[in-house]
């Protein structure tokens, strides 16, 4: 297969940046999207050009490092991470536009790499949960109903890749934050700090400069872990209750 790649190149955070077009041939349809970029970089290095900077780590869809905007879709046309996307999802001869996540709270560091520390700060604002560390407690001492455990687990599959923000027309971090709020809020261990957690996380989210959620649903459609929109409703419910019973 061969492709025309329009890739965002930006030397540093302060650089203006622009698109550069590359041709790439002899791509196997079994290659992952990142392997295709690896191949491009080998060719660039052979020509003594600066390779395209992009993030990746696990390359098995669990770390959330590899987010790219691929022809207008976060992580490309399949419901998966960029590292798990294969070239067979494209048609030979396609022009593929590759851009970094676009959101001001995620500044571009170089080329396709953005700084997602804003997410870490939201998690940090969420604070601790009150459980004792040390020996594992007796599992039956705190029963968790199966539906709650399932929902908590589904929400906990969020890998913090930022696709929700990238896809959202408002550049809102609501789905990410709601996944975290739901994951802890469904469990007994998450109850003592439930109200303060949602208040601090939302405050931090807004402070970081993310947009507000208008329930459009692009986030959930782009999520490689298929986090459903209903977690946002759970967050909103928690927030409403927390604001009504605000501890003075």
């Amino acid at each position: 297969m061969n492709f025309t790649l329009k890739i965002w190149r930006q030397a540093s955070q302060r650089d203006q940046g622009q698109f550069v077009t590359y041709r790439i041939d002899e791509i196997s349809d079994d290659m992952s999207f990142l392997e295709m970029l690896d191949l491009l970089n080998e060719q660039l290095i052979a020509k003594s050009e600066d390779p395209v900077a992009f993030d990746s780590d696990c390359r098995e869809g669990i770390c959330g490092m590899c987010g790219l905007m691929i022809s207008g879709q976060a992580h490309g046309p399949e419901v998966t991470t960029t590292c798990q996307l294969h070239m067979r999802s494209f048609t030979s001869g396609d022009t593929i536009t590759i851009e970094p996540w676009r959101a001001d709270p995620f500044p571009v560091l170089k080329d396709l790499i953005v700084d997602r520390s804003a997410f870490d700060r939201i998690i940090q604002a969420g604070g601790y949960i009150s459980v004792n560390t040390g020996a594992a407690p007796e599992a039956h001492s705190v029963p968790v109903p199966k539906p709650n455990a399932d929902r908590a687990f589904d929400a906990a599959t969020c890998i913090g890749c930022g696709a929700c923000v990238a896809a959202c027309p408002n550049a809102s971090g609501m789905l990410f934050m709601a996944a975290k709020v739901t994951h802890l809020g469904e469990l007994p261990q998450g109850q003592p700090e439930r109200a303060s957690r949602v208040l601090s996380m939302v405050t931090q989210h807004d402070h970081e400069g993310f947009g507000g959620c208008t329930n459009i649903g692009e986030c959930s459609a782009a999520c490689p872990k298929e986090i459903p929109l209903d977690v946002i409703s759970t967050l909103n419910g928690d927030l409403r209750r927390a604001m009504q019973h605000k501890p003075s």
């Binding site: 329009k6 207008g72 550049a171 209903d230």
Partner: protein, 209 residues
């Protein structure tokens, strides 16, 4: 956004229902218009109820528009560099049109108030009978067209708005409740917009006169 929007949903349902009095002809409609002004008398003065309603609506409008522009502004600031290519895969047409559709509805409300409340513009001719004012206006095709477009915008606004409000209020935390909210949004959008446009249409084609 959600709370002020809910006030409007209640209002358009009542207003749409009231407009259906046009089916009863001049007497029924004019009695209804008169009753609106004497409603809850003598507890309230003449037109008292209307003024309370107007106050609530104006406050809701200010809150709604303020919240909308705040969200718009935040979204603008949160993405100052736009994508060269961006595909929407989940957004409904209604969701995409919330902002400009809302602006269109605001313009419509101004036109509408100038026509029927302040009677500053009186297409088709003024009259002391509310019913005659109605039939005068809607016997003109372009007046009807403005209302048709506005009801289209209203249907879209309600379609996304009702579901979105339910989500914002935290009522849609399961797949089932989400489906219910979406169905409710679509149903109310259709009932309100069709209910609103039927009397003007029948006036235009001469069935109601």
């Amino acid at each position: 956004m959600a709370v002020t929007g809910a006030i409007f949903v209640g209002y358009v349902l009542l207003h749409m229902y009231g407009n259906l009095m046009a089916f009863g002809g001049a007497d029924v409609y004019n009695t209804y218009a008169h009753h609106l002004r004497t409603f809850l008398m003598p507890m309230l003065p003449y037109q008292g109820f209307l003024w309370v309603l107007r106050l609530v609506l104006v406050l809701a409008l200010v809150g709604h528009v303020f919240a909308a522009f705040t969200l718009w502004n935040r979204a603008q600031k949160a993405r100052t560099t736009r994508y060269a290519v961006k595909k929407a895969v989940a957004a409904t047409l209604s969701a995409k049109w919330m902002r400009w559709g809302g602006v269109a509805l605001l313009a419509f409300v101004v036109f509408h108030l100038l026509e029927f409340t302040t009677r500053t513009i009186t297409p088709g001719g003024d009259s002391d009978s509310p019913f005659t004012r109605l039939t005068n206006g809607f016997s003109l095709w372009w007046v009807f067209l403005i209302y048709l477009v506005a009801m289209f915008a209203l249907a879209m606004h309600l379609h996304h708005g009702i579901w979105s409000a339910a989500q914002t209020l935290g009522w849609t935390s399961s797949a089932l409740s989400r489906r219910v909210a979406k169905t409710l949004g679509l149903t109310i959008a259709l009932v309100v917009s069709v209910g609103f446009i039927v009397p003007p249409f029948l006036i235009l084609v001469g069935v109601i006169k």
